[in-house]
Structure formats: structure tokens, C-alpha cells
């Protein structure tokens, strides 16, 4: 039952925040904060319990499950289940939710109640996505996520928000409909073959179908997930949406909405369609590498700070896609780390961009420069997260990207080598960001206040997480491991791209294959 509460808590908090808005602007803020802190506390207690009880390590079982009857006529059930990766995603969701609430404590000046309602409903819906194991329920939460986000960008966004919301909505909605068709397709294929019409993920696993059907259905899922992730060339809604969204919206987009795409591939796409996915994997991995390099290239040339950070997102999420389709233990655990580290580091950069916009009412890098001398705290935080972006060891992103590349190298050497060039191009944009905003001369003679206590606290929390993830990621890796083993078991038909090396030697090499195999 705890799983339902995890979703209901932000739902109820959101409603309460909206209702309480008539009592003053402070009410929704405090209600949201308290609701999310309670959620985080509940998750932490759960996590500690699982870790102590040893259930994280046991593969093949859910950590917690809730299966209620919902729409029997359709074979849809209210079926929630939690595994390690889901737990990590919920922790990330709640953590970034708190960051978003505190970061927009002063920035949102009108309709605060409705704002926080939307904020919390996004979190609730995303939590649902991470928990649902009934495809109908999954789709329900998937769609539920969109509306509040649409409002957040559309109402509290910047100058060009109408264009951005429309674009965002069309991209996501159109791709979601393709997934709906694929879900229904799978439903009928399975129903016809077995006589049991159900949306239950566990029952749909291993549905027998022709390779053409499997490929078509897999692509239907892929398109929806690829738009969210985003995968080149379906990424172009993202820079606009990110740029126009208010800070909290950008944090949610980058930190969470992008993650549901990756999570969907991990949990649904590859386990449900292992053969088609493995046929498709060379193309997917190529797109991933293209995204890594392309995002970094375009980030370098942007003059709008938020747009620049948005393009870095495309680059980072390329590592996730690469890791998912390389599908071995190193790459998958790396992909999970990248998902979390990217959420934290990119979220932090968006918060910084938002704080700058609050101060100078511009996102134009050409109008900034030399801000370090006035704002060393902000500058230091921005430097640290820029370094996280370029993959500096000791910070979280490095651990994830290194593991992904280590795993990808065993799947495809040329693609891993090309992806490694991401280290170079990310350096170019990250240093350019720091230079453009904080170094050089303050030509416009801006006089700005440095971070106050609230803003410093937000940054401190983000810095602690990204550093802990960089220096001691083991708790996270341990949490993800059982889930990844379980998924690998489901996707036994997925033959990760192998390359036969002529110079292969016996002995230690065989050992590597076994360790890296992940199954």
C-alpha cells in the first residue's frame, strides 16, 4: 500500500497547496515543501529498510508491490511495483522536486497556488510512471505528466512560451499516440495468442510474435521514449521548452521528464522486445553517439544560457542511450548513474541560469561576463557543475559516463571511441560557459548580489549529492544492481552487439566476458 501513498502524497499536497493559496503566497510553498520532505523521508526509510533487509541484492523480485483490480473489462489493473532503479528514480524525483520548490521560492510572483499544484502533480505522475507495471496504467501516468508541464511552461514561462509549449505538446503527444498504438498492438497480439487479454507487463513479457510485428511494436515504443530522452533527430522540442520554461519547469524537464524516456527503454522496450531491440541496437547506438557529439557541438555555439544547457542535456542523454543499448552490466549501471548525475548537474545549471535571469533579466551570455568578482559563490557553483558536465573524475557524471564507455567498448569499439570524443567537445562548451558568464570583464558594470542563504542551501544540497555520487557511488550501484539483473533476465533474448576480436586471448578475457555479461 505504501506504493500508492508515494503517488498520492504529492497529488494530495498539490491539491492542498492550490486550496490554501487564498490564505497567502507562503502557504502553497510551505505545503509543497513539507509534502515533498515527507515523501523524501518515506523513501529514505524504505531505502534503508531494503538495504538492511538485503532485499536490494536479491534479483528477480520486486522490492514492493501493489496489485489492485481496476478495469477488469479491459484487463487493466492498478498494478504498481518497485525495483531498485525505480527507487533511485523516485529519490531523484523527490529530491529535484524539493530543489525546484526552494529554488522558485521567490521567483514565482503570481498564481502561486496553481503553480505548486502543477509542480506536485508532475512529480506525482512521474512517480506513477516509475512505479506502474500495467501498460494501461503506465500510459495513464505518462499522459498525466504532460498537462501540468504544459501549464507551467505556458503560464509562467518566458517571452516565447506559446511557441515552445505548442511544440513541446505536439512532439510529445504525437509520439505518445504512436506508443498507445503499439501498446494496443501488443495487447491484441498477446490476447490472440494466449486468450488472455491483459496489460500486465509481467504477463506480456515473452509474447510470441513475428519479427516484423516485434520490430513495428518496438519502434512504436522507441519513438515515444526517444522524443522524451531525447534522441537525435527528435530532440528539437527540447531546447525551446527548456529555454522558455521557468526554473522549476526546466529542472523538472531536464531532471525528470528526460529520465522517463530512459527508464521506459530500460524497463519496457528491451525486456518486451528483446530481439527487435537487438536488431535495432547498432542504429540506436549510432544515434546515441551522434547525439553526444551533436549536442556538445551546438551547446558550444549558443548565446542563450538556458539553450546552451539544454543542448548539453542532449549530449549527456546520449550516454544513457548508449549504455541502455550496449546492455551489459557495466553499461547499464553506468546509464543509471548518468541519469541521476545528469538530473542533478543539469538541474543545478538550470537553477543557476534562473538565478542569473532573476538578477539581470537576460539569458544572453554576450551580455554577461566578469560576474565572478561580485558573485564568487554562484561562480564557484557554476564552475563545479560545468566541471561535472565535462566529466571531471570525482563528480557523479564521470562515474556514469566512464562505466557506460567501459561497457560500450565491449559492445562496439568504434562507437565507444567516438563517444569518448564527447570528453573533448564537452570541455569546449563547459569552459566556454564559465568564461562567458563569470570570467573576463564585467563590461556592463552590473552590480549584483551574490547567493543568499536560501540559494546557497540549494546549491550546497546539489553539490553534496554530485560529489557523493562521484566519490562513493556504491550505495546507488548496489541499489540498481538487483533490478538490472532482473531486467537482464527478462531480456534474455537480447543479444548485445558483439564483435569478434581476432586477437582475442583466452584466460583473463574470458573472465571479462563473464563479468561484463550482466546476466
Amino acid at each position: 500500500m505504501i506504493l500508492a501513498w508515494l503517488i498520492l502524497l504529492p497529488f494530495a499536497g498539490g491539491l492542498l497547496a492550490w486550496l490554501a493559496a487564498s490564505r497567502g503566497d507562503a502557504w502553497p510553498r510551505w505545503i509543497s515543501l513539507i509534502a515533498l520532505l515527507a515523501e523524501l523521508a518515506a523513501l529514505a526509510v524504505l531505502w534503508a529498510g531494503f538495504a538492511r533487509g538485503g532485499s536490494l541484492a536479491a534479483p528477480g523480485r520486486w522490492l514492493s508491490e501493489l496489485d489492485l483490480s481496476w478495469i477488469p473489462a479491459l484487463g487493466a489493473r492498478f498494478h504498481l511495483a518497485l525495483d531498485g532503479v525505480g527507487l533511485l528514480m523516485l529519490l531523484l524525483t523527490t529530491f529535484l522536486g524539493i530543489i525546484a520548490v526552494v529554488a522558485s521560492w521567490e521567483g514565482i510572483g503570481y498564481r502561486t497556488g496553481f503553480f505548486h499544484f502543477n509542480l506536485l502533480w508532475i512529480l506525482a505522475a512521474i512517480s506513477g510512471v516509475f512505479l506502474a507495471v500495467d501498460l494501461f496504467l503506465f500510459y495513464f501516468f505518462w499522459e498525466l505528466m504532460l498537462m501540468p508541464l504544459y501549464f507551467i511552461i505556458g503560464i509562467w514561462g518566458h517571452e516565447n512560451r506559446v511557441y515552445a509549449t505548442l511544440k513541446f505538446f505536439i512532439f510529445t503527444q504525437a509520439s505518445s499516440l504512436v506508443m498507445l498504438v503499439a501498446i494496443l498492438g501488443l495487447y491484441f497480439v498477446h490476447g490472440r495468442a494466449s486468450g488472455n487479454y491483459t496489460f500486465d507487463y509481467l504477463k506480456l513479457l515473452g509474447t510470441p510474435m513475428s519479427s516484423f510485428t516485434e520490430m513495428a511494436l518496438m519502434l512504436g515504443f522507441f519513438i515515444a521514449f526517444a522524443v522524451k530522452l531525447p534522441v537525435l533527430p527528435l530532440h528539437s522540442w527540447l531546447p525551446d521548452a527548456h529555454t522558455e520554461a521557468p526554473t522549476a519547469g526546466s529542472v523538472h524537464l531536464a531532471g525528470l521528464v528526460l529520465k522517463v524516456g530512459a527508464f521506459g527503454m530500460l524497463r519496457f522496450l528491451i525486456p518486451l522486445f528483446p530481439h527487435a531491440a537487438s536488431d535495432f541496437s547498432p542504429l540506436a547506438m549510432t544515434l546515441a553517439v551522434a547525439g553526444i557529439l551533436y549536442g556538445a557541438l551546438l551547446a558550444f555555439t549558443q548565446t542563450d544560457l538556458k539553450r546552451m544547457v539544454a543542448y548539453t542535456s542532449i549530449s549527456h542523454m546520449g550516454f544513457v542511450l548508449l549504455g541502455v543499448f550496449a546492455w551489459n552490466q557495466l553499461a547499464l549501471e553506468g546509464a543509471v548513474i548518468v541519469m541521476i548525475a545528469h538530473g542533478v548537474s543539469t538541474g543545478a545549471l538550470f537553477v543557476i541560469a534562473g538565478d542569473l535571469q532573476d538578477r539581470i533579466h537576460s539569458r544572453d551570455i554576450d551580455r554577461m561576463g566578469g560576474l565572478w568578482s561580485m558573485m564568487p559563490r554562484m561562480g564557484g557553483a557554476a564552475l563545479l557543475f560545468a566541471l561535472a558536465s565535462l566529466g571531471l573524475p570525482g563528480l557523479g557524471n564521470f562515474v556514469g559516463e566512464f562505466l557506460v564507455l567501459l561497457g560500450a567498448y565491449q559492445a562496439s569499439i568504434p562507437l565507444a571511441v567516438l563517444a569518448s570524443l564527447g570528453f573533448i567537445v564537452s570541455t569546449v562548451y563547459a569552459l566556454w560557459l564559465v568564461q562567458g558568464v563569470f570570467l573576463g570583464v564585467n563590461r556592463r558594470k552590473l552590480r549584483l548580489p551574490d547567493y543568499n542563504l536560501r540559494e546557497s542551501a540549494v546549491m550546497a544540497a546539489l553539490i553534496v549529492v554530485i560529489t557523493a555520487l562521484g566519490l562513493y557511488p556504491q550505495p546507488v550501484l548496489n541499489t540498481a544492481r538487483g533490478a538490472i539483473k532482473k531486467l537482464s533476465g527478462y531480456a534474455a533474448g537480447y543479444h548485445r552487439p558483439h564483435k569478434a576480436d581476432p586477437g582475442a586471448q583466452p584466460g583473463p578475457v574470458a573472465g571479462v566476458r563473464r563479468q561484463g555479461g550482466g546476466s
Binding site: 531546447p239 557495466l330 573524475p393 570525482g394 562505466l403 569518448s420 556504491q474
Partner: protein, 624 residues
Amino acid sequence: MLRLLFLIPFFPFAGFAALALGGRRLGRRAAVVGAGSVGLSALATLVLSAAFLISPPRGYAYTQTLWTWMKVGGFAPGISLYLDALSLVMVLVISIVSFLIHVYSGSFMSAGEGRRFFAYMNLFVGFMLTLVLADNLVLLYLGWEGVGLCSYLLIGFWYKDAANGRAARKAFIVTRVGDTSMAIGLFLLFARLGTLDIQELLRLASAHWQAGSGLAVAAALLLLGGALGKSAQLPLQTWLPDAMAGPTPVSALIHAATMVTAGVYLIARTNVLFSLAPHVRLLVAVIGAVTLLLAGFSALVQRDIKRVLAYSTISQVGYMFLALGVGAWSAAIFHFMTHAFFKALLFLAAGVVIKSLADEHDMFRMGGLRKQLPLAFWTFLAGAASLSALPLITAGFYSKDLILWDAWSSASGSGWLWAAGLAGAFLTSIYTFRMVFLTFFGRARARAGSLPGFSIKAPLVALAALSLAGGFVEAPGVPLLSRFLHHALPPFKQAAGIGAGAQLVFEVIAAAASLAGIYLAYQLFLRRPAGAGALAASSAGGLLHRWWFSGWGFDWFYDHGFVLPYSWLARAGRSDLPDLAFTGAARLAAAAGRLLGRTQTGRTRWYAAGIAAGAIIILLLTVN
């Protein structure tokens, strides 16, 4: 006792944390925290060295695992430190030289910038010590990237000047190219050998790989890429001269004594891989030889005293690569040590000169400073003598002479490598004493302002003493250092049939080259400076002069080959081409909508005509 090993990198990191979080309250005490933490680290190193020497651990190596960094399947690098003869020598030199430079910086840097400066410097020392103490390649990579970061931060320390920012970015990006090659090397090593623990890896490599096998060659080449970037060797040397934009103590510490020799350490550390790939090892020697010559020529024509020293550093690290390439592992480490002493000294003494002349870098506007800055002069002279390998009384003589002899006598050496090294030695003493004569002799062209205080003088004197006497740890006949290093590095293999008497002849030749260079510098730059000017003014001379001055045109090549095309590509694609397809589709839909909207005219006869036309078309279709 050795369990205290972790303290060596811990103190500088703690110093960084205190400085970063301490806020403005620290004030002048920032220098005390900064130098103090490194001092504690040096002290810990001395105590540990004594303990190591008095009761050596089993196998002459000690590993301390602090915690497991990440464990995924068989991949489990630890935050683990490894102390053996090689890392002990490195740590000793690094911590002591760092401490002296920190003391010097306490009065060199102004009070307002002290906190940030010492924070970055302490962070650097922490990463550098981690790099040399790492027991696995992933942790080594952490230190490797960390020192690169601090190098970037400190080159661009005076961030208001855009040129400094450019130099800093260039340094970071160029070295990152090398680092990426190294990272790919790590992927390959792990995929093939299943571990990145250095000692285990080397054991497995020699057990499973044939000498000259493709994998060994690829692994050695990829690691070499990393070493070339960090150590500013061809073709990735271009960042180092520009790195002189940083404060002088930074140039002394990072860009002379420690970080730029990280590549030398990496190759020495993974020497087994390079021995398994003899062609790559030969390549290391050739790169070293070519680099030392090219950089020597460039040093000859610079006007900026710090740029002379920068090219000189590239050139001297070239000697170390030459030594590594011929399998003279301990000679390379020996030269690293003496170079750390005398090059740090030269930079620090040059810093005194630059500061006293109100930030004047141009040697042609100095001159005659011998009398005004006697201490700077004498210590600089000691460093210059050591750099030029003045026979018998300087440390540089012993280390360079050893490399030259080894380049000739090694089983994998050759006369060509020796000749290149000898020519380099001749060049070295010319450009070094050109520097001495232009700066301290001749007509005084400027008046020295501020004079150095005690905390600047003391490190200079200490380093001068080390630059002169430091070579006796490896005097011919009493090779203390290499005997000690043989616990960690394979012995030097001499070619068959080389007599002991030959060594004396070669020493005399090397000494003669050094003295001849000094004499030529004296003739060209002190006795008749007009002659050198005329040489540079002649058309051929002028061309060479410009070519050498610009560092052989590498910058031009990289700008046009990489930087400009990349910027062009980024600008050209700025509007995100795939997006054009989507916005195009949107425009098409809008246009089609407008077009069809036109048909909604509101006139009945148009609608009637439309209905009629439609009916006819449907009829025709059904009839057929």
C-alpha cells in the same frame, strides 16, 4: 607507520576545503593555511620515507585501500594508494618543492587574491600526490584530470584578462585530447585484461601478451597519447608556452616541476606495456629527441623570459622521454628530480626579477640586474648552471649526462638519439646563458623596484642548494637513486660490448658541449650583441627567427586545422538543422491550411461548383 600514507594527499585537500569554505574571515591567514597544509604533507612524506627506508615493507611496496570507489562486476577500482620506490621519490620531490613554492607565494601574491590562489594551489598538490600514489589507473586518471583542472584554474587566475582565459582553455582542451586517448587506453586494457589495478595489469600483460603484439602496441600508444598531452611533447606541446599567463609560482610548480612530468611518471609506471611494444618505445625516444631539439630552437629566440623557460621545460621533458624510450627508466626519474629543483628555482628567481621591474617580461628591457638583485642573480645563476649541465658542480650535469650516455649505450639506443641529445645540450646552454647575460649583465635598462623578503629568499636558497648538490644521489660510481629505484623499475639494459672507458670520453664530450654553448652565448649576447642582431635581421635568419619564435607554426596549423573548422561548423549548424525539417513541416501545414482556407469564400456558386466537380470525379472513379 605506513598506515599514515593517506595523510600525504589528505593535508592539501583539507587545506583546499578550509580555504574554499573559510570565506573572507581567513584574510592574511590564507597563506598560512595554504603553505601550512603542504608543509604538513611534506613533513608526513619525510617521516614516511624514513619509515620506508628503515623497515621496508614486504616486496618493497605498500598498498593502502581507503574505500572501494565503485564496484561493478569485475571492475572495482579502489581509492587506494600504492607506495613503492618510484612513488616515494615522486612524492618526496613533489611535496618538498611544493612546500618551498607555497612559502614563496605567501609574499609573492597580494593579500586580496591569496585565498583563491592558495585554494587552487592546495587542490593541485592534493591531486598531484593522488596521481603519483594511485594504485589503479582510474584513480590515477582522477589525479590526472584534477591537476589539469587546477592548471586551467591557475593559468586563468587573473581572469579579467581575456587572453589569460584563452590560454587557460587552450591548455585544458589540448591536454584533454591526450587524456581522452588515455581514457580509451583504459577501456582497452580493462576489456582485455579485466583489471585496471596497475601492478595486476602489468603482471597480466606480460603473462598474456607477446612482445610486439597488436594489443600491447595499441595500449601503449593510447597511454602515450595521454602522456604527450600532459607533458607537452610533440605534437601536443603548444599549450605550455601560453600557460605562462599564470602567476609565476604556478609556472614554477605546475608547468615546470610537477604536472608536466606526469607523462614521464605514467610511462615509467607502466613500463612493462612499453617494453612489450618496442616500436612504441622507440617512438617515445624519437618524440623526446625531436621535441627537445625543436623546443630548444624556439627557446633560443624568445624575448619573454618566462617563455624561454617554458620552451626549456618542453625541451628538458623531451630528455626524460628520450631516456624512457631507451629504457633508462631511473635516469628519466633522476632528470625529473633535478629538473624539478633547477627549473622551479629559475622560475622563482625570474619571478623576483619580473616583480621588481613592475611586471616586465621582456629580457631586452632588462639588463645589469646583477648588482641590484644580487640574491636573485646568484640563485638564478645556480639554476642556469644546472640547466646547462655545467660539469661536476651541478645536479643537471649528472642527470643529463646519464641520459646522453644511456641513449648511446642502451641496448635500444642509437648514435642518432645521442647526437640529438648532445645538440640539445649545446642549444640549452646557449639559450640559458643568453637569458643570464641579457637579464643580469650588460647595460642596466630598468631600475629594480621592490626587493624580496625573507620568505622569498629562503626558498630560492634552498632550491639553489638542491640544484647544485641534488645530483650527488646518483654520482657515477655511487648510484644511490637508481639502486633504490630498481625495487620498482626494471634495470637498464646496456648494449653488448660497450667498455667502461667509453663513458669517460662521452662525459668529456658532453661537458665540452655545455661549455661551448656558454662561450657562444657570451660571444653573441654579451661581447658583440650586434652580431646576433644582424643574424636575426638577415632575410634567412629573420625567417628562421619568426618560425622558431612562433613555435614552428604548430599553433597556426591547429587553428586552421581544428579550431576554425569546429567553430565554423558550430556556427553553421547553430539553428539546429533537424529542427528545420520540423518547422518546415509546420510551415507547410500552415500554408496548406491557408490555401484550403481560401476555398471557404462564402459564395454559393463556388460551393456548388465544388460539389459538382467532386461528384463527377467520384462517378468517373466508380465507372472505371
